[in-house]
């Protein structure tokens, strides 16, 4: 985590409540207002992701615009089927993003594998198998409005996961999965325990 | 104040020059040269030659140093990691250099005077000298620059014919 988060914990121990909550509100506001997107378009959902930035839908209204460089971005938007072959590349790009960072899984394939869930050996069954996903957007593909709504949801989430440790809480998000016991798709690199909020299974 | 700045610049120039001598890393070498050139420009300002200092920054730090870096990147491209330079020290050469230092100092010492800001540093005077007494060298240096340009192009582009 970034240095500020440790400052926050220290201040909390000292009892700097008022200062902390004001700074906290400001930091949350700034982080939520400028969620720059890293467009990780791997398949057809990328078209909708691209359309979301352009004339008709205008992502820039929300302060979000795509940057091609993971070092400059805050939220990775996974759009499209993630194959086993693509998985290490996606993970690597995620690791290259600076903290604090978030992940939006856009489209059914990214959420759960989608239509490739059964009878395919090559598709990752959901991005949350190897990344801490924060927001899931269903649809095949979802409309750009749905993506924008997802980013607005993420903004709420950013406020939840704020500086002050007292304000932090886990989202209750444990979607039931039909096959949890039967199918084992063990990930060699499970998401680290420190990144809360994403581990749905 | 002037003495303080002088010694500050002298220390910077010394660090840069030592980097040129000691550094294993090509980029540190070039950075050392940059430090030397910038502190030389600082000395020129201190002595009242403002235009000369700006010319040094313009031509050297902005031009020649970038050329040096380009040459490094062209020559050392494709090597893994940081290219490292061999550093050999020879006590005999060191003694020789100290001897040259002592000799030059002994020769130039009688004419050395206190540091002072020159009165002749104005641009107007420079212009009238360059286009007056020194017109021929000035024009010849223009010719030299053109010749150098052609020479570099023919040397560098020679293998593409």
């Amino acid at each position: 985590m970034a240095l500020v988060d440790r400052i926050g914990e220290g201040l909390e121990r000292l009892g700097g409540g008022v200062i902390l909550t004001s700074v906290d509100a400001l930091v949350d506001w700034s982080r939520g207002q400028s969620l720059w997107a890293f467009p990780m378009g791997t398949a057809c959902c990328a078209m909708e992701l691209i359309a979301a930035s352009f004339s008709k839908f205008d992502f820039d209204r929300l302060g979000t615009f795509p940057r091609p460089d993971p070092r400059h971005t805050d939220v990775m938007i996974l759009a499209g089927t993630i194959t086993e072959k693509m998985k290490p590349a996606v993970r690597r790009l995620y690791d290259q993003m600076p903290e604090p960072k978030w992940v939006v899984a856009m489209g059914n394939c990214t959420v759960s594998g989608g239509i490739f869930y059964y009878d395919t050996y090559s598709v990752v069954r959901g991005a949350d198998q190897f990344l801490p996903v924060d927001v899931y957007i269903s649809g095949c593909p979802p409309r750009p409005e749905a993506l924008q709504d997802g980013v607005l949801q993420l903004r709420e989430l950013v406020r939840m996961r704020s500086l002050a440790p007292g304000k932090r809480y886990e989202r209750e998000l444990a979607l039931p999965r039909p096959e949890d016991a039967s199918y084992s798709n063990e990930d060699p690199n499970p998401p680290s325990a420190g990144l809360e909020g994403g581990d749905a299974s | 104040m002037s003495a303080l700045i002088f010694w500050l610049l002298a220390i910077c120039a010394g660090i840069g020059a030592l980097a040129v001598v000691m550094s294993h890393d090509v980029m540190r070498l070039a950075l050392g040269l940059g430090l030397v050139l910038l502190s030389t420009a600082g000395f020129f300002v201190l002595l009242g030659f403002g235009f000369l200092a700006l010319a040094e920054v313009f031509v050297y730090a902005g031009g020649v140093l970038v050329l040096v870096l380009f040459a490094i990147m062209l020559v050392h491209r494709g090597e893994p990691g940081q290219p490292s330079l061999e550093v050999t020290h020879d006590p005999l050469i060191l003694v020789g250099c100290v001897g040259v230092f002592a000799l030059l100092l002994a020769v130039l010492r009688p004419v050395a005077l206190q540091l002072q800001t020159s009165s002749g540093g104005s641009v107007d005077a420079l212009g009238s000298v360059l286009l007056g007494d020194l017109l021929l060298p000035f024009e010849l240096s223009g010719l030299l620059l053109l010749a150098a340009l052609v020479a570099v192009v023919s040397v560098m582009g020679g293998d593409r014919r």
Partner: protein, 320 residues
């Protein structure tokens, strides 16, 4: 010596000016870009999205500051400042009023052209120190571009120095007459185009061409250090616009007092907006087109401009 200290104080003021100008400029750029692309641009943060840049800046300041393991650490960390400081120092020789610049030296025009050139070094070394192929290529491209476009830029400013009979920026503004505008129109065009290329902005932004180089020389910079690079870019835009408005357009077209000052600010904003307009309208050039344009179009244009100014001055002497 006191002149040097005053210069340093003005440099500090220049840095704050750039910070404020970048805050407004980025918002303005996103709004203008939005309108050009039939969008709205930032709307949500503050009235008309005015606070958008503030939130971006705060966020970037609080982001993780990554230094790659393979990087040359001290050089990597220092380079954003080596890029920013020369650009900021250009602001202290700009004639804000007739005959007056904060650091009013006899060679102000040369200072304005020479010292920002030092940022080439910072860009080149930032690319190299990242130990990243994309960053290195971006750095080399940016450096080649910047030293090539320095030539037409210098030549175009030279015609002004010839007209004013001085290298001092304050004197250039004090000597300005209305007939300079038609006479140096070509020079102004050359100055405008090469200024865009100097700060590596579109359509000359192939140093950070994202479709091929990820982000060019600052690929591996994150958080506040990247923000300093962007500030340097906006500082370059501000400095170029201020200088263009103050010298080529005589700062408020020769009007004195409050209307002149207002017109000066308006002209500066106009030039900056034209730069944004160019960025969002023209497609990016190719590297060879870029070099051809600098050496075969802009440089001859600037030379012809210089010749025209010389002939006009000679004609004036003969006629009077």
């Amino acid at each position: 010596m006191s002149a040097l200290l005053t210069g340093a104080a003005w440099g500090l003021a220049a840095a704050s000016l750039i910070a404020v100008a970048a805050l407004i400029g980025v918002w303005w750029e996103r709004k203008v870009a939005g309108r050009i692309q039939m969008r709205f641009g930032p709307q949500e943060a503050g009235p008309a999205g005015l606070l958008q840049t503030l939130s971006d800046t705060l966020k970037l300041m609080l982001k993780e500051d990554i230094t790659p393991t393979a990087a040359d650490v001290p050089v990597f960390r220092a380079m954003p400042f080596l890029v920013f400081v020369p650009v900021a120092s250009a602001l202290v020789v700009i004639p804000y009023a007739s005959g007056w610049a904060p650091f009013n030296i006899a060679t102000g025009a040369v200072f304005f052209l020479a010292v920002p050139g030092l940022s080439v070094l910072g860009i080149l070394l930032a690319g190299w120190a990242s130990q990243n192929t994309y960053a290195s290529i971006g750095g080399v491209r940016a450096a080649a571009q910047m030293i090539s476009y320095e030539l037409p830029r210098t030549l175009s400013v030279l015609s002004l120095c010839l007209l004013a009979g001085s290298l001092s920026t304050g004197t250039i503004r004090a000597e300005w007459r209305w007939w300079w505008v038609p006479l140096t129109a070509v020079g102004f065009l050359v100055y405008f185009i090469s200024s865009i290329a100097e700060v590596n902005r579109g359509p000359f932004d192939l140093a950070e061409a994202e479709s091929e180089l990820v982000a060019g020389y600052f690929t591996d910079y994150s958080g506040i250090r990247w923000a300093i690079f962007m500030m340097a870019e906006y500082g370059g835009v501000v400095a170029a616009s201020l200088f263009g408005a103050a010298t080529f357009l005589g700062g408020g077209l020769g009007l004195s007092g409050v209307p002149g000052a207002l017109l000066f600010v308006a002209l500066t904003a106009l030039i900056a907006t034209a730069m944004i307009w160019a960025k969002w309208t023209f497609p990016r050039m190719r590297a060879d087109q870029l070099m051809t344009f600098a050496w075969k179009v802009l440089t001859p244009m600037a030379l012809v401009q210089l010749l025209a100014v010389g002939i006009a001055l000679a004609a004036r002497v003969v006629l009077s």
